[in-house]
Symmetry: D2
Subunit: 402 residues, 4 copies
């Protein structure tokens, strides 16, 4: 019996070419694993296609709810955003995909995992660090770092030469990655940062603000300990909730980001991300944190969010540091419970009010008047001590100048 | 000759009441100082009014350009935003006002400075810390923490009783603070965080996204070492540039933030801020940083921005820590030079491309192909070492479980 | 029936004077609570003394093990040190004392808590913030901020006038605070930072390095998930373990720090701290973390330690941020298990080796040779990508200079 | 004319073998560059040796003062320590060495730089990142990642086969790196972290605490803006000052650290470092910062120090982030001027007092009494506001539990 290799298979051109290449270059049975993180449409007919290319077995793993609960929700809770703009859609999905690949590999007793990432991107790192952390004994095969194929055209030729079917070509050639949380676009006009993105042809999950309807949509989101549970008062499962928000957000031109970002491997790249539902969730969650977190927790959590984002981006989900940061975040979320109203309008997510049983806002305190809790005169002493170091320093400096 | 007190005078009701109160309760000559940080309209007839109230001298100090160059520009360069939303409009102005009050006090040989801030807000702290740092020997008089007046009505009565003129009442009673960088609104419906702001009556510097024109405006901003210098290719002085951007931003519904924030004095308050031009400047500056800063500098600067924002918000501008953080920021800005195109549309500031002689983006590097600088195979070694700690840990853990 | 006030009572002069003062100025029954955090010797005869001063009830609460388990251990795990030197002995004890005072107050239905801290120190803050967090309805009475007594002599006179016993005077007049974790010394020659401490008369828990024996003592400490459990292989209860280490550390001149520190209330003060056992525990714990924590966790934990120290020092133990930071720390400690050998010699704690089942050290990896896990050639790719941003920047700069 | 390669030459076995290897494998003229960062003794006869091995030219560059002024002093000012223990002796020297190699290469018009670092260490990274930043067009040759030689014995054989002289063998085989700031030791018994270091045979710059004299040495150090200038009142040049402190520190058993550290390349290694003079300078500098820095600057600088240490350790000296962090540090050092007395005794550096014209310590303020600057009663208001968020939260929580 042959040894087995698990292939992360999407049905696209790249991973299709890998099947015959693996069979020709390694003495392995190839097990194709397609992991559904929300790119449902792309999955049709996929099993047949894979078998027709010569794999010995196909897995189609629906991990959508696991993805939401164990990866996306902690990320929302953390507030992680990479380089001020990127909601980490591809990055976070790589973690659950790596986990699932490893699960299949262990179940099948495979000796290797193969992926179709190029040698210039972040995804190779995310997959391989995940595998290193979860199953360090598994070999990794990364054909793009091995073979001599160097273009789309050569891939097609490779398949045609062998009489194998070529997956349907897309009409355009942006390079894209899609899951239920987001879609990313790279290439074409985006390769020159001085160009504006061609939003008319580029967008997939919604429209641009200019194409969005003239009438706003108002929604209410409910959170329990930092986890979104209800939309407009109706309890919804994680993936159903996100899908509905993607629809609403996309229709209203929300969640489009155009970013020149720093990759892990050392160069800058430019992409456009659509995260319509995710953007709404982040903003709603933030509103509730403004209401319920005390000043110092809010402040420190901002720093934690920067680090959490780096870890996700860098492929370091399965690490002690991510677990420890998540423990911090989870602790802060005990009070992030309540409702947030939002108006969705042509690219804007406009807060319309929020409430929480753990709100730390007190109308009596914030208003002008003195009450039990606050005496204006207390401020005298406060400021005197708060400013004491400045006063001492200034006085000492004055003495020195005499 | 009497000792002198310098009064921070705005011409409004609060500071008008203070004049007779000071004269009745202290044996000082009162010198009214009105500091123009961009609230020009409010200054008309102000000198006469002050004299009619009994002050011995009036200063009207135009510090608009100093405000921009020495306070606002370093803030833009730093990227400081308080609690994710607030562009620090009131906070940063308090620094230059404190400085100017001290300058006048020193020039006049005054023994005290008096301000009209309440005992519950941040501004008292910002003024008094500024004074403590710059002229620690000066006494501070804060009537709101001393007198028994506790409402607008009592203030009016106080003036009427003495036959003094009552400054024109505003039509509404939001509590507002305005300067060239922003305007803030507090009070009325905003006091309940569950209420949406009544943007139709509230906004002063522009319109809401829904009221903005259907046609976008596209602009180009030029920066030199992190300082904005040109709009649409035309060199402009700092305050003229900001005023023009305020106009454009306001017209397009840009820069409106609704926030429940944590005050220094320990309670949450809720406000709406309009920062139309400032929001455009921040976003343009950020685009250029994405293009020109390396990954580690960008990342660390994000942390610095959090601290810089705190210092400004907390009234700690005149401190060694602010100076040291600013030295950090200045060092990073050497390369933040170039052009940014932006589309202003119904609340959105949409990047349309950016360029810089110091751009670190390399199309050749970012694209798929291997070149001199990058060999796909290098990633093998990189990932192997980058993931080594994870692999070692996993292997050790596996050994422990045997 | 009278309302009750709970008095934090130490038996010393300060808190003795407070008893008659409270009775004369308030219509309360006074309940004296003495909280034993390790200052056992000072407790003898304390109950009788308190009763003789007129209190209606005395509690002597031994919280030594609670103090160790719930306060000191998490602090050791965190690695918190204030301003590089201070092991937070007084600060951390204030938290458990505040908690215990509140417990008694709630049990007794008291309406107020009274403490003998001065208005210039940190301890008033630590007590009052603890009370605010745990029982915000309780009134706080801080006589030193109220009465006119302003010196030791006036205190004695106050008691003598009333025919009340004056607690035995100490021979010297350093101001000291003692618990099982440490003792602090302030005053006398220490008030001038240019003076060396007079260690011969000052030290209480041990000797100076110069007076320590010429022969070293070697010990082994065992930790389980960051908690010390065994000394020289023998399981010991927390307080017994610490007492033994205090003895060994004190005898060998260990854990003496002389520091000019920044108080919360805005001025610098100078003190000498003795933390003999604590210093040994911190250093042993750190050795184990060097062996078991990965690089990124270790690094981030250093930042967390700075914040954790601030929170303890500032009296913010009972806050969401402290809880969240502790959740982070706890998560990291899962692997901090193992043994550490240390040599104690004249002020030095010299590591003599450490081991852990979770050690990430691999002799094979660290040594020169290539093996399964590491190929020297991998470093080529690693360095090429790791240094890519520097190379790109330099090349771009070179282009700009052409 | 042949192209040239610049070889970082130490005169030791490794770099000696590289000379013939380079000549056999590349068509280059070899220029040996020996950079004196304080390892003076090792330099004797070095030029002759290099020429006898076949190099075409030898440079011996004394950069000791440059090393001190431009690298070591900023590091002292920053307070950078890697992983709590390591004073970065090897790391910081690599920066000046890389700079000097590049300088010679540019002057000679060389096309490549060759170094003798192994593929498992940090030094290869430090050299190559320095070169990438300063002269990205230069090729790097790292024989240990290329050739098949894999042991000391094979190196000797390699030379003997060619009839070339073999550099004198050292008596032991710790792997060492020495410069004026420190010496490092790896290998032998240190490879097992459970072993105590054999200090008797290992130490080179001094003795262990146990072997140090029974009588303490007291010194005074003077700093000007964070730079050490005088020892015992006598002005000294940087390198002379350090050499004298190395002598004093070494004699008194100071500055020995035994550490299991995390390398950049992903594994832990264990070493012993001697930094006698450096340890004294760090501690003296820290004393002065305690006296002169305000609380917030001190605190933030602690975080900066962590990052600064990482950058030095990781070979990222020639980066914008290091420059920006240094700008921060430089700004803080304006007041770090004054005198520090220290007692050196058997491994201990015991502060004996410090003074500064910029001291922020005020005896009047720190002491018990109320004065102009401080009124005990001010603390009432301070604590009330400082603790307000805790009180509000507790009250809200109590309401929720009703």
């Amino acid at each position: 019996m042959k040894e087995k290799v698990v292939l992360a298979y999407s049905g696209g051109l790249d991973t299709s070419v890998i099947i015959p290449w693996l069979k020709e270059n390694y003495d392995y049975d190839v097990i194709a694993v397609c992991i559904n993180v929300g790119q449902d449409a792309e999955l049709e007919g996929l099993e047949e296609r894979a078998l027709s290319m010569g794999v010995s077995k196909v897995y189609v793993e629906n991990v959508k709810d696991e993805f939401m609960r164990e990866y996306v929700f902690p990320m929302i809770q953390s507030g992680a955003i990479y380089e001020s703009k990127y909601y980490l859609g591809t990055s976070i999905a790589r973690a659950v995909i790596a986990k699932t690949l490893v699960n299949v590999a262990l179940k099948e007793g495979a000796v290797a995992i193969c992926h179709g990432c190029t040698g210039k991107g972040n995804d190779q790192i995310r997959f391989e660090l995940g595998i290193a952390a979860l199953a360090p004994h598994l070999k990794v095969i990364a054909p793009w770092r091995i073979w001599d194929i160097s273009s789309r055209e050569e891939e097609i030729e490779y398949l045609e030469k062998r009489g194998l079917p070529v997956p349907m070509k897309k009409e355009d050639s942006y390079s894209r990655d899609r899951n239920m949380w987001h879609i990313s676009h790279e290439g074409l006009e985006l390769e020159d940062p001085w160009n504006a993105p061609n939003y008319e042809t580029l967008l997939k999950l919604g429209v641009s603000p200019e194409q969005a309807p003239d009438k706003a949509t108002t929604i209410t989101l409910t959170f329990n300990q930092g986890i979104p549970t209800h939309l407009n008062g109706e309890a919804m499962e994680p993936s159903a909730l996100l899908e509905k928000l993607n629809e609403l957000g996309g229709a209203n031109g929300i969640g489009i980001e155009d970013i020149v970002e720093n990759r892990v491997v050392g160069m800058k790249s430019r992409g456009v991300y659509e995260t319509p539902g995710g953007t709404i969730l982040y903003k709603a969650h933030e509103e509730l944190e403004h209401l319920t977190l005390d000043r110092e927790t809010y402040r420190y959590k901002q720093e934690i969010a920067l680090e959490f984002a780096d870890l996700i981006y860098n492929g370091k989900w399965f690490t002690p540091l991510r677990e420890a940061l998540q423990a911090f975040v989870t602790s802060t979320q005990q009070v992030v419970t309540g409702e947030v109203k939002l108006k969705l309008y042509k690219g804007n997510v406009i807060p319309q009010g929020s409430s929480s049983p753990f709100s730390l806002y007190s109308e009596a305190l914030a208003s002008f008047t003195t009450g039990d809790l606050y005496n204006h005169k207390d401020a005298d002493g406060f400021i005197r001590l708060y400013g004491l170091p400045l006063r001492v320093r200034a006085l000492k400096a004055a003495e020195n100048h005499k």
